[in-house]
Amino acid sequence: MKKNLLINIDDVSGIKADKESHAKEIWRRLRKNKTAMAGMLILGIFVLVALFADVIAPYETAVAQDSSMRLQPPSAEHFFGTDRLGRDVFARVVQGARVSLSIGLFTSLGSLIIAVIFGSLAGYYGGKTETLILRIVDVFMCIPSILLSLAVVAALGPNMINLLIAMMISAVPGKIRLIHSVILSVGDQEYVDAARVYGCSDARIIFKYILPNALGVIIVDTTMGIAGTILGAASLSFIGMGIQPPAPEWGSMLSEASEFLRRAPYLLVFPGVSILLSAMSCNLLGDGIRDAFDPKLKD
């Protein structure tokens, strides 16, 4: 009955066309931004390395020890040299890309999902739910994030899964606040009222009408969140509270390198530059996407 009386607001073809050109417009602006493109290129290289890590340098070469080849400087055979156990640093850096990037990606996406659930509950329904969720978030935000992650790892024990949990717990509160404010600001637009009058379910309004219109903010936050997670996870692994050796991870490789600063400074270079470049590429891209979505904010 309803369907016959009202226009189906989902498939008005004009809106679809508008959406596409809007995305194109954003992409056009992003493409003109040289630093953002540099970020995207670097990130793209890291993603390719992570995806094809086993082709470039199989995992076995990253953990294979060779006592006759300890602490060798970079050469044609070992591009980045070898570490104290004679392991090939190049293979470890390549395999480390897979570890760091997946931690960054999984943490960002996982915490985004949790944040969308709680942020929407708080922003959309308001009242006591909102107060309760926001107060809890406030308390979490009072604990410096690395300490919060440290507490989780200390309690559960250091390994990959617990590191992921720890990074997520410290990333979620800030994201809940973001989603909450997004829902508040987009939620009182007239087209949201229209959807409500039309009789859309709450979930449909949130996922179809509110969140897509806040996509820019969410993508920027997620991109920059990956950078923060890569840095945080590397810090935890560096102090021995993250990924455990012999698994190749940039932070724990640097921890091992600290014993040979004078003898083998090259051990310091490659994992460090990898962390820096991967984090920076996400930050550059995030900055660029923000400008592309909102040209007013640029400058």
Binding site: V139, S145, A151, V153, A155, M241, S258, M280, D299
Partner: protein, 310 residues
């Protein structure tokens, strides 16, 4: 005004209780019994019972939480170390000044560097200087601080012999760690100040000030800066928290015997009361800093003042 101050101070109490609840809960998630972890799998039941009784582990979760809170409030007693059996509060107090000093010094320098360069960058927007500063800030905001610390040791300690590479015995030993922490905080503050300043410069009252003929210098320093710095004050407070966390990592790099080293070693020893109290201590300190930031805010932002005038 005092109404706001009292309200804000009282609001800190539930937050601190919440922090305690969160940290306590997280630390109780440890799989297995602490007594087994500490005394070893071969320990007999009598020894385990004695250990549990000594550290109050024979109670239920709510009871333990209540006892912990009660002891803190009444006697400032944060429990005893599983390893050394000393009161953890005393152990923390001995280490705390070093970490506090590191975080405070680095925030001071990062504020000076970050805010000044942020203003310069915004005022000279689109200049070569602005481009250089923004790119540099981007690099330093993405640099892993522990790696920067190691590079500084390699350069200034091992090669140039200018500063010691470890310890906290003299003022020289603070130079490199403070620099390490300050640089990344300064990069964040620069970006923040720059965008706040650029936003303010586009406001209509600035155009008015220009239109009525105020000198460009006055417009920037008297009209724009004051308002642009408001959000920067908040991010200074947040940076302090980040620096406290960062200090935990940096102390490991420079072998500085502060709270960070204490925490890292305590985690390795599975000395949970010590880990929990140290993290609580730093989180409480951060809450207090944010309280101070909010109070400063109330005094410098007339909008908050006027809200509470009646």
């Amino acid at each position: 005004m005092y109404k706001y101050v009292i309200k804000r101070v009282l609001l800190t109490i539930p937050v601190l209780l919440g922090v305690l609840l969160i940290v306590f809960t997280i630390m109780s998630l440890t799989p297995g019994e602490p007594a087994r972890l500490i005394l070893g799998a071969s320990a007999d039941q009598a020894a385990i019972d004695a250990f549990n009784q000594l550290h109050g582990l024979d109670a239920t979760f709510p009871e333990r939480l209540w006892n912990y809170l009660k002891d803190i409030v009444t006697d400032l007693d944060f429990g005893r170390s599983y390893r050394s059996d000393k009161p953890v509060f005393d152990m923390i107090l001995g280490r705390f000044p070093i970490t506090f000093m590191l975080a405070t010094l680095s925030i001071f320098f990062s504020a000076v560097i970050g805010i000044v360069l942020g203003v310069v960058s915004a005022v000279k927007q689109y200049s070569k200087l602005d481009a250089t500063l923004t790119v540099t800030a981007m690099i330093f905001a993405s640099i892993p601080s522990f790696w920067l610390g190691m590079m500084l040791i390699l350069g200034f300690s091992l090669n140039l012999h200018m500063f010691p590479s470890h310890g906290a015995d003299s003022w020289q030993s603070y130079v490199l760690p403070v620099l390490t922490l300050a640089v990344s905080a300064a990069a964040g503050l620069l970006r923040m100040t720059r965008s706040a300043m650029l936003e303010t410069i586009r406001m209509e009252y600035i155009r008015t000030a220009r239109a009525k003929g105020a000198s460009p210098r006055d417009v920037i320093y008297k009209h724009a800066l004051k308002n642009a710095l408001l959000p920067v004050v908040t991010s200074l407070g947040i940076s302090f928290g980040t620096s406290l966390g960062g200090a935990v990592v940096i102390e490991t790099v420079f072998s500085i015997p502060g709270l960070g080293m204490l925490i890292v070693n305590a985690i390795r020893d599975k000395d949970f009361p010590l880990v929990m109290a140290s993290i609580l201590f730093l989180a409480a300190l951060f809450c207090l800093v944010m309280l101070i930031v909010d109070l400063i805010y109330a005094f410098i932002d007339p909008r908050i003042k006027s809200k509470y005038l009646n």
